[in-house]
């Protein structure tokens, strides 16, 4: 078949597809479908809202329990200076002193 034959076939197909007249129940049935979907979404939306509220309440409860059972959690987070002070252990002091003790003495004067 040629390109023209294909165009002709498309034309015949167009004529073979009947013009469908809307039935008498087209509009009532359409509105029923719209309302059915609306009620589905409203139920879904209500369920979603309740789930969100329940999740938020559960989060607050877990946070409260966490704070209640670990009193240290309320302590203020130390500053950088506090952390440095805490890290200034005896070990680092020894290391510094050892370096100092190994320093070669000054050469004797001639």
């Amino acid at each position: 078949m040629s390109e023209r034959g294909l165009d002709d076939l498309f034309e015949r197909y167009r004529a073979a597809c009947p013009e469908v007249e809307p039935g008498p129940n087209f509009m009532p049935s359409l509105w029923q479908k719209i309302e059915a979907r609306q009620s589905f979404w409203s139920v879904f939306g209500r369920f979603g809202k309740r789930l969100t509220t329940a999740s938020a309440a559960l989060c607050l409860l877990l946070l409260a329990l966490n704070l209640f059972f670990s009193p240290g959690a309320l302590n203020v987070i130390p500053t950088y200076a506090d952390a440095l002070m805490a890290d200034h252990s005896a070990e680092s002091t020894d290391y510094g002193e050892a370096i100092r003790s190994n320093t070669p003495e000054a050469p004797p004067e001639r």
Binding site: F10, Y13, A16, P18, V20, S29, R37
Partner: protein, 191 residues
Amino acid sequence: MLVEPELIERARAADGQAFNQIVLAYRKRILGTISRLIGRPEDVEDVAQEVFVRLYYSLDQLRAAEVFEPWLYRLTVNAAYDYLRRRKRRAESRMSDLSEQQVLMADSAAGLKQDESEREKGRVRDLMNSLFQNVSDEDRLLLTLKEVEGLSLKELEQIYHVKENALKVRLFRARQRVLKAYNMASESGRI
């Protein structure tokens, strides 16, 4: 456009009466387009209602009343596409339940009830449907909109948001596949 932009604006503002008027103005055109897109007269009304349900829930996403028609066509194409996919799945499961003999008997029994011109129309629809099996559902819809509905490339560009050149290439390839399928079927004596 078949309706005034003000009517679309009113429908966007959840005016049920305005929406009703839009449906009444466009339903015949949409029914006709769907009839040609899916090739199954018995399912046309269901798909058209699905289009208008989608329209009702997506009117607030419409940018401007001026692009309403391409928007409506886009919804129509999407609903037809979903229908074709569903039908393919249903057909696969249904055909596996019936033997070939049963299918042929059912076809011939249905055929006897129709007169000759209706049968010829049915044959053309069946032929076109079988040729469309050789292209994807997307290409089938594009080909139908261009070659059967007679939409211009500019209109298709607005519906698909795809550049004209890309559409031309896609259409050319789809046509070639349909032609090849026709010639193969013709050589094997199936048509």
